[in-house]
Amino acid sequence: MKRVKRRYLAVRLELDGVVSEKEFMDAVWGSVTRLYGEVGASLTSMALISFDVSCNVAVVRTSLEMLDAVRASLACISCVAGREAAVHVLSVSGTIKSLFERF
């Protein structure tokens, strides 16, 4: 069976205050689903790897073939948990190790 290639994205959430992991991922899944539908969202294989509440930086995993779709969906987020927000991709990497080395 062909191995699924993955990419890890370090993203910074920009908003006033703090949000929980669940609120953040709800916003991300919501954006992906609105743009690509439920089938498209299921193809992303997205998962939250880590979320640092103190500096609002998260690491999200996705499949390589849906990377562009996930990036577009992240860029479209303008609201998290009812608050104005923006999500910026800091770095993209093939392994978690190299991702943490980069930033």
Partner: protein
């Protein structure tokens, strides 16, 4: 070679110079090298000087942009004649078919922008693209702001229009320029995020990156070249003046 990123549509300056200061600071942090200030009329020399100082302080290059919203062809031609040489970039907001056709065939127009929230008045069809490509200079400007503010079927319709326009622009060789079009700081995005948003309307990664760097930069540099004192005609430049015979 490192890409120089350009945002040609920040709609702030004349409304609120103070917030524009924050905006260009943010744009500099985001990695933009050129940021435009949109004017709807001729700016005073003091305004231009303030803009230059503000941009110099944060390390971005200012681009003077004129937004024209003419009511008819004559008004468009009159404004182009009067203001072309005072701005780096001229964008025409095409609210009617007559204006969009006139703007497309006029070599003095750099950007064609169409109403974002009324898909019936987006007149970028094959005829428009043909005119724009035969004039050889006008580019299609796409603002990404509606992607943040529209939802549901409206956004679907908007993306569908953009996808069709991108295909037409590509077929006729009309350059694409992706701009933010924002008036609020929270909608500002990194250049690569702007490029990834272009993925939503069928633009490939490299083409999208060109739309936020190479294409807008080419417009700015071409016009600045023309505004130089030594410019005679495209491809002809004054090297030095003779002593006279």
């Amino acid at each position: 070679m490192k890409r120089l990123f350009v945002d040609l549509h920040l709609s702030f300056f004349q409304k609120d110079p103070k917030s524009f200061q924050h905006t260009i600071q943010r744009a500099a942090n985001f990695g933009y090298h050129y940021v435009s200030a949109s004017f709807s009329s001729e700016p005073s020399s003091e305004e231009v000087e303030n803009l230059r100082v503000m941009c110099k302080n944060v390390g971005v290059e200012p681009v003077l942009r004129l937004d024209l919203r003419p009511r008819n062809e004559n008004e468009l031609m009159h404004n182009l004649r009067r203001l072309r040489r005072k701005f780096d970039v001229i964008c025409v907001f095409c609210d009617s078919k007559v204006i969009s056709r006139q703007a497309a065939k006029d070599r003095r127009v750099d950007l064609l922008n169409f109403p974002n929230f009324d898909y019936r008045r987006r007149f970028f069809d094959r005829s428009e693209a043909e005119l724009a490509s035969s004039s050889g200079l006008a580019a299609l400007e796409i603002d990404v702001r509606p992607l943040f503010v529209l939802e549901g079927s409206m956004r679907t319709r908007f993306l569908s229009c953009l996808r069709r326009e991108v295909v037409i622009a590509r077929a006729f060789g009309v350059p694409l320029v992706v701009s933010s079009g924002v008036s609020e700081e929270r909608f500002m995005r990194l250049p690569r995020e702007m490029a990834s948003l272009a993925h939503l309307f069928g633009v490939g990664v490299r083409e999208a990156l060109d739309a936020v760097s190479v294409n807008p930069l080419a417009i700015v540099l071409r016009n600045r070249g023309k505004l130089c004192d030594d410019f005679i005609a495209p491809g002809v430049r004054l090297v030095r003046e003779g002593d006279g015979l």
